[in-house]
Symmetry: C4
Subunit: 273 residues, 4 copies
């Protein structure tokens, strides 16, 4: 008995106050982009900007800095002073392109440790979920979101991917309950579960099964949370925006060969409706 | 009793002489772009080119050079020989992405010292204002502009942000008087004050509260000054172009998710009217 | 008696299953991009993404990493751990921008050695063909494609370019037979020969005689193979898509000055028909 | 009595042979792009590709490589083995962003020395002209073009800029005669002089007085020469294409804020007419 999500049911964000400034729309820190995976965190960061966050900073591996900012000058990038960046942020995304090497684990530990003591809304995705699964670490903060696909959910619950695939609602709830998080279980019919209720997205198409699509979703959810949207609503609305944008782009240009960054303009259009 | 600025009131720049060359439209030096903040000075430099300056050079941190020129080959970039670059320039912008570390302060001191002895039209923005506030330095040249937002103005005057916000006209005048500069106090209803008169911009919208928008404004004002427009008029016209461009883009594509670089094409269109 | 290929004769790829994920559309590894030739492998990788492969990784020279991912964040890039990348892949492209220096040869040897023991569908192009010719190495795996132009075919067969040009069908068959590969002999009227049958492409125009066009073709063929299309069909359909896209772009914007990356949008359009 | 050049008078390039390949349209080497001036040589190289040259390679300073190829993967780039690159080329452009430091002079000497012994069509521009003026070097090859603006012409002839400006036809002829080159004297009404005849371009506008416009012209002329167009015709047609493209772009989007790279699409359109 999950509720079905349809973009038409959301009333959209409130008009912006005339007296707002760029700090009014959040300061989002996106952590990831290890060597060779700069693109993943760039996609999250750009998606967050296109979803309306005022300031977006990336913390990435030294070797990824140029690629992240060369094509999108509005993104700030740092590879040093992670604690300063965490203190600056009002919301945190961790995982896209993080990898699982020593740098990844040290970065993950620093972020988690900081957030235990200084709770801030947080989205945990991709390799951060894999590190979480491998270290059996728990996060005891209130407002956080986990965005596994089936494989990551399986690792988080120590079950097989087939088990997750055959019973997605059950395992979305299990992730939410075991980790006390809002779980966004990605896939055909993405499920959101906040331990009490579940929602399933009506939009989306198999053309979205392509590199970086998840990174864009993570950026959108983080962006909404940074703008003050409540955690479950940010997940429901973010998932719906992302999937509907994918449907609109696929309808215009086809499912095959659609890339993650193709969604930016359409996400922006939808979020202004 | 500030005069209201409306883009329709400006007659625009005079037609270009057939016998002009690229030096006829100024040589603008943009100083900033510390490590991790390459994008800020890139936005200023590109805005200046799109506003008609013939030659734009950036002086930035060594680690920012690639990002600044990779996407906009018309920008020149250097991270050495700042004095040569200052001598080359006919107008200077300092501040976007400058930061506040040792490199920032050394760079700031070199620029200010040079300009005291070799006065050139100058725009001081962002972290250059913060360094100015922290060092209580003054600039004794004629044609210079300061472009603080409320937070920067508060630091420059050693008052609270709330005080500035509650009495923007008074504090715009105070900045202008204390620093003998034309002050552009950014925000909803940007104010220009040249110690004697004040103007307030009718255009603009809260979608412009996003990363890099101020950098674009600084580039536009610097560009107009480099093209020979008088300092107060460059501020009035530059602020109006920037805010009107933001309104046009927001009307077409929505306020939320608008990025600073989205304004370039529209600024170019408006400056040709 | 080669069969003529016309894009209208292909029924296109089957609709995507609703329950697919990004792994369902292959993991393509593109090997090449030596120092100064980053663009070649970037073109192959981007063409593969636009043709529908779910995940594309590039293995390139250390000095090429930034250029490859800066403009296309969906591409992953590595310059270390080639064996890990090979193990990750379900299909391999080697050659674009590979060069012929020590790094090139070591890279080539590692790939060939790996694939002898772990056969995977493979496309061998450009400098990988030149290395192959110079080392008289053979590949004893089933599903592989060689994509020489006339010059490369001549080197592979130790004949002159003129001989190849004067008897293209004969020499396409000779390449296929000697190397037990499907041969795609590029040129005006590209020929595909799988040792038993031959096909010739009706589409294409001399505007396609420009840098990087072959790299794009290689990426398309590799992409189709990664998506599970059989080797000869991937060659026939890939060659037809590429040539027809070139015709469409040339008709709209002229043959002269057409660049390889101009084809991406049109390839994407055609592959969705 | 210079002949007036109008784009309508050119019959355009002959249709391409069906049996041509990318080598049929030349291999152009563009030399320049010192540290901080990568953009200049990138603009020349991209203009050459858009004008129809099949293969374009840049020889630039080590620190410029990433910026040159990141945004235009069809360009090859090297910072080593200049002699190999010279041997590879069928036509050479030298000067855009070359600078005047030790690297510039060593590079210039290598190119000139090579071309004295291995004559190839050549375009000498920008800082290469300044080095030429300062070293009083002469080039004793047949097919070469010099493309000074008034300031560079003045340095080449050891006269003042005012003298050149006041008598452009006379000094264009003097450059041509003294250096035994075809001289393209840029400015309002660009003049071409081949020692015997002179032509003056009817197209062009003061919006073209902006950074990089000359680099684009140099790339177009080099591209035409690489495609086999005779030297004086390449100059006449190249200048006309460039100026007319600038007029078309300015008419659509205004003179002010037009950038050099805005011309690429229009040059491509015109060259296909």
């Amino acid at each position: 008995d999950a509720s079905a999500l349809d973009i038409a049911h959301f009333k959209g964000l409130a008009p912006r106050s005339v007296h707002s400034h760029k700090g009014s729309y959040g300061r989002l820190l996106c952590v990831g982009g290890n060597s060779g995976m700069a693109g993943a965190i760039r996609l999250s960061a750009e998606a967050a900007l296109r979803s309306g966050t005022g300031l977006v900073k990336v913390y990435a591996h030294e070797s990824s800095k140029v690629q992240i900012s060369a094509g999108r000058p509005e993104i700030m990038v740092t590879s040093t002073n992670l604690e300063d960046a965490l203190a600056w942020a009002t919301c945190i995304v961790i995982g896209p392109g993080l990898g699982q090497d020593n740098w990844s684990r040290a970065t993950y530990e620093t972020v988690l440790h900081y957030c235990q003591n200084n709770p801030k809304p947080m989205v945990i995705d991709a390799d951060a979920l894999n590190i979480m699964a491998s270290t059996a670490s728990f996060v005891s903060i209130d407002d956080y979101v986990m965005t596994p696909h089936s494989g990551e959910a399986a690792r988080l619950l120590n079950v097989t991917v087939e088990e997750v695939e055959n019973n997605r609602f059950v395992f979305a709830r299990q992730v939410a309950e075991r980790y006390h998080a809002t779980c966004v279980l990605k896939g055909a019919g993405t499920i959101i579960d906040d331990e009490k209720s579940a929602w399933v997205c009506r939009h989306g198409n198999p053309g979205m099964a392509t590199a970086g699509m998840g990174d864009v979703l993570t950026g959108i959810i983080g962006s909404l949370m940074a703008q003050g949207v409540s955690t479950p609503l940010a997940c429901q609305y973010g998932v719906s925006l992302h999937a509907k944008a994918g449907d609109i782009v696929a309808k215009k240009q086809g499912q095959r060969g659609m890339l993650a960054s193709d969604l930016f303009d359409t996400v922006r259009m939808l979020i202004n409706e």
